[in-house]
């Protein structure tokens, strides 16, 4: 309990809230690292996943990319990027984008490719062309799964951005890493609380966005991912 009081004192110390190494500065670094990485990953992964799903090709690749992604530890990815690009924010961005692409790509593919064939055929029978089927039928129906992938990726990116400071990338991880190095439980604990809050907030906001973006007709029920198949499915199962 002594510790919690100290953490509280650390939080309320005005010195933590102004200047170049204050909490807001590190928070902003963390948010920027995560946000920019997510945008870059979406720009790369969404079109590829959606198009592959639409033409229903490359499914093995699209699904396996996230299984492979799961096997590569984010910590390893970050330090390998450091080996390649040296110290700073660059290795952090490279690692975070690489981390975010697989879940987004796989879920976009699965979401679009697994739209019920009968629905698709009726759209064609109604005279829709390929692109129209994609835009008016497949994409809206794929939204829950696509957003689940975005959510999974974003939470993972926020979590891994915590390690970015190890390679000089800044962010809230600074407090945790500094605290661990100097055996200062108060600073480490304070940093951990901030990171945890940010991750939970990300999850909640994107969860709300997911519900908002889902077409009304298919809202309400949870996304059911078929679990009977023998291979683990990437779809809604979170990736850490």
């Amino acid at each position: 309990m002594e510790l919690l009081a100290d953490v509280w004192r650390w939080f309320t110390d005005p010195a933590q809230w102004q200047g170049r190494s204050s909490i807001p500065v590190h928070l902003w670094q963390h948010v920027r690292l995560s946000g920019v990485s997510m945008v870059l990953a979406l720009v790369v992964a969404l079109p590829v996943g959606v198009v592959l799903g639409h033409v229903r090709r490359g499914g093995v690749l699209a699904v396996n990319v996230s299984n492979i992604g799961r096997a590569v530890p984010s910590f390893a990815l970050l330090v390998l990027a450091f080996g390649a690009f040296g110290i700073g924010t660059t290795p952090a961005y490279v690692a975070l984008v690489a981390l975010a692409v697989p879940p987004v790509l796989t879920n976009a593919y699965v979401g679009v490719a697994e739209v019920d064939a009968q629905i698709r055929e009726s759209a064609v029978a109604m005279g829709m062309r390929g692109r129209e089927v994609l835009r008016r039928i497949e994409l809206p129906l794929a939204v829950p799964l696509i957003m689940a992938g975005v959510r999974t990726a974003a939470v993972q990116v926020v979590a891994t951005a915590t390690l970015a400071d190890l390679v000089g990338g800044g962010g809230l991880g600074r407090y945790i890493i500094l605290g661990l190095r100097t055996r200062d439980n108060v600073v480490a604990f304070g940093g951990a609380l901030l990171v945890a809050l940010l991750a939970v907030l990300t999850e909640l906001l994107l969860g709300r966005a997911q519900r908002r973006l889902t077409p009304r007709g298919i809202r309400g029920d949870e996304i059911v991912v078929p679990q009977g198949s023998s291979t683990p499915r990437a779809a809604d199962v979170p990736v850490a």
């Binding site: 510790l3 530890p73 330090v79 890493i177 661990l180 480490a188 991912v225 023998s230 199962v237």
Partner: protein, 225 residues
């Protein structure tokens, strides 16, 4: 761009003489990694099976159980480890509590999904044959749910193998130690070797578990082909 200078610079990505000099340490760390993973998944399963069975049986439990484990899953692993340090110290226990927490959501979800997938008429047939509730669960429902449960175990295991690398930051062993050493000394070889071994471990674990699943559920093989 100065950033890319590093790409062509200095040492090679792997220095085989370092690998040759450190085989014993690498072997020890690999086993430590395996042990940390196995303990986490086994404890995780021991918690998730009863909770999953209960959540499938009493629906009202499902949402709170998934919410709590989902919250645990959302908290970044390093943050969770650090929050535990004041209580359990820089110990193996801290690492395991964190690792177990991450397996729960995946495992419980799959246990419930597996049990939900048991067809109602099979359940009724078992009851009709005089099976009590417990015996029906153990002899009929769990075996049918096994492929889904094992799918969860595989995902949880692969995820845990990756997370164990982070326990190096709280002074626990495993292959993350080499990644951290390489980072601190700006020496690529330990990073590459530690990462490669961790990925290899995840792949091998996944294949072993797949083989276990096939052995335990011979009937799914006939259906698949």
């Amino acid at each position: 761009m100065p950033v890319f200078a590093q790409l062509y610079s200095r040492e090679a990505w792997i220095d085989w003489s370092w690998v040759a000099d450190n085989t014993d340490r690498l072997r020890a760390a690999t086993w430590e990694h395996v042990a940390l993973t196995v303990i986490a998944v086994v404890i995780g399963l021991a918690i998730s099976l009863p909770l999953g069975v209960a959540a499938a049986r009493w629906r009202r439990l499902y949402t709170p159980v998934i919410s709590v484990t989902g919250l645990l899953y959302t908290i970044p692993s390093l943050a969770l480890f650090v929050v535990l340090v004041p209580v359990t110290g820089l110990t193996r226990t801290t690492a395991e509590i964190g690792l177990v927490s991450y397996t729960l959501l995946i495992l419980i979800r799959n246990v419930v999904a597996g049990l939900d997938g048991v067809p109602g008429d099979i359940r009724e047939a078992a009851t009709g044959m005089g099976y009590g509730e417990l015996r029906r669960l153990v002899r009929v429902e769990l075996p049918i749910a096994l492929p889904a449960i094992m799918a969860g175990v595989r995902i949880a295991t692969v995820t845990t193998v990756g997370l164990v690398t982070i326990t190096a930051l709280i002074g626990q062993g495993g292959l993350g130690t080499f990644i951290l050493t390489g980072l601190n000394r700006d020496f690529r070889t330990p990073v590459v070797v530690g990462s490669a071994l961790s990925v290899a471990l995840a792949v091998v674990a996944d294949l072993v578990l797949l083989a276990v699943q096939r052995t335990l559920t011979p009937w799914t093989r006939a259906a698949a082909t």
